[in-house]
Amino acid sequence: MKRKIPLALCFIMGISMIVQFFIPHPASLEFSSVIYKWIIVLMAFALVLAIGNLIRHHGNKIHRRKEDWQYSIVTLAGMVAMATIGLAWGIDPDSLYQRIYLNVMAPLGGTMFALLAYYMASAAYRSFRARSLEATLLLLSAFIVMIGFMPFGQYLHPRFPAFAEWIMKVPNMASQRGILLGVAFGSIATALKIILGIERSWLGGKE
């Protein structure tokens, strides 16, 4: 029963949601609307679980004095402080919450991401070598796209932007479309296997 009821629920809900998607009848739309609201509520619960998990993970780390446990204090203090400030003084455009977000969180996030440019420049210099025909083609197309998309690319040669655009629109698009179709067919097959009860790993535990 522990496995049969979830499998039956999955089958009924899976088939119902597929069927309702193609029936624009008010009853069908009402049914889907209720289900969507349930999904939104369920997803919100996932957020509560995530917060609980974060507190437990970092609480344990601080309690056991694990390596770099001091950073866990910063994480928890930051979370509590932002939640308290937001709840107590609001989240208006001129609020303290918004000012902290724009002047602390945003520059920190930007800085972390900006570091990538340094690693990428260094890594490209050290490892981007024309070792084979494929690597040479990759290197050449990367150069053409970079030059073509630069504002002054058109001044180096008037055809650079058009050629870069062709690379994006023909070889890139062909491969992207192939990947998209592959992913779509894979998703359909997996969804059907789950709905029909062939794929049961989501239930967890043993048979």
Binding site: S32, K37, M43, A117, A121, Y125
Partner: protein, 291 residues
């Protein structure tokens, strides 16, 4: 050490230093290089240009985080300026939990810029009448689909806690029937859900402003017409800024123009280093073969 070995072993600190100098330089030395507008950016601009004033709204889904702010924030500001200048109502929302702070910043900074230039009171923007920000919601696919029936069912209150039904704009905009286009500004694969679900079911028009890394994935959708227009990375933002300026919807260019100069400098530097690395590799391989 031979010259070709030397050019393959340049100290990374030199690379980092050059990179830093070249990123900062365009902020002090202003150079304006004319942008060639890509067709997909032009399509998005033309689509918004074709929306009659005070008719259907433009829904903007702010789904980017501070990490990709330099690319997506100028897009948001440029498109907001375009909509507000043409008196097209804007409804903002987010499905990325990190985005609301940036969305509020984009909306408020553009509002203040327009208000500071307004000659009459009627020219200034009013929250709830000209634009609304709904805030963040979990379960994005379910929320996107449910908004097809009633936006107020998914967002009973806006980001600031106002009841949706109390806002004049939301008394007109009930669902996707009153939305001309949904423009997703994202640093992740968010637009695909809008294409798969609300567009399939409700025929919602979708436009996108994506980071340069994400944009190539959406070229097939631009070709099929499922995406009505696409801004690609900082270049797309700079192009949109240029179009907005040329049509007289803004008085100055935004940050993307300067950012684009920095980015171009870095691209040239990286290309030069790749060429150096390959020259060194080629000559050292030849020297080894000769031995």
């Amino acid at each position: 050490m031979k010259w070709y070995d030397r050019i393959t072993t340049i100290d990374r600190r030199i690379i980092y230093l050059l990179l830093t100098v070249l990123v900062i330089l365009p902020f002090f030395v202003k150079v304006t290089i004319p942008q060639k507008v890509m067709p997909q950016t032009q399509r998005l601009f033309d689509f918004i240009e074709s929306i009659p004033p005070k008719d259907k709204a433009v829904m903007i889904s702010f789904d980017y985080s501070p990490q990709t702010q330099p690319e997506c924030h100028p897009m948001a500001k440029a498109i907001l300026k375009h909509c507000f200048a043409r008196e097209i109502p804007v409804i903002g929302l987010s499905f990325d939990p990190e985005a609301p702070g940036l969305a509020v910043d984009a909306l408020v900074s553009v509002e203040r810029e327009i208000d500071s230039l307004a000659a009459r009171k009627e020219d200034s923007l009013i929250y709830g009448v000209d634009y609304v920000y709904l805030g963040w919601k979990s379960g994005r696919i379910a929320a996107q689909l449910d908004m097809g029936e009633a936006i107020s069912g998914v967002f009973p209150r806006d980001y600031f806690g106002n009841l949706i039904d109390s806002l004049p704009l939301m008394q007109i905009v009930k669902n996707y029937k009153n939305i001309a286009i949904v423009v997703i500004l994202a640093s992740a694969d968010y637009p695909i859900d809008w294409i798969r679900y609300p567009q399939t079911r409700y025929g919602v028009k979708v436009g996108a402003g994506l980071t340069a890394v994400m944009a190539p994935q959406y070229y097939p959708f631009v070709q099929t017409g499922q995406v009505s227009g696409l801004m690609s990375g900082m270049k797309g933002a700079a192009e949109y800024e240029k179009l907005v300026l040329e049509h007289g919807y803004a008085r100055t260019l935004g940050n993307a123009e300067t950012g684009m100069n920095s980015q171009s400098m870095i691209h040239i530097l990286i290309m030069l280093f790749i060429i150096l690395g390959n020259l060194g590799y080629f000559f050292s391989r030849r020297a080894k073969k000769e031995k």
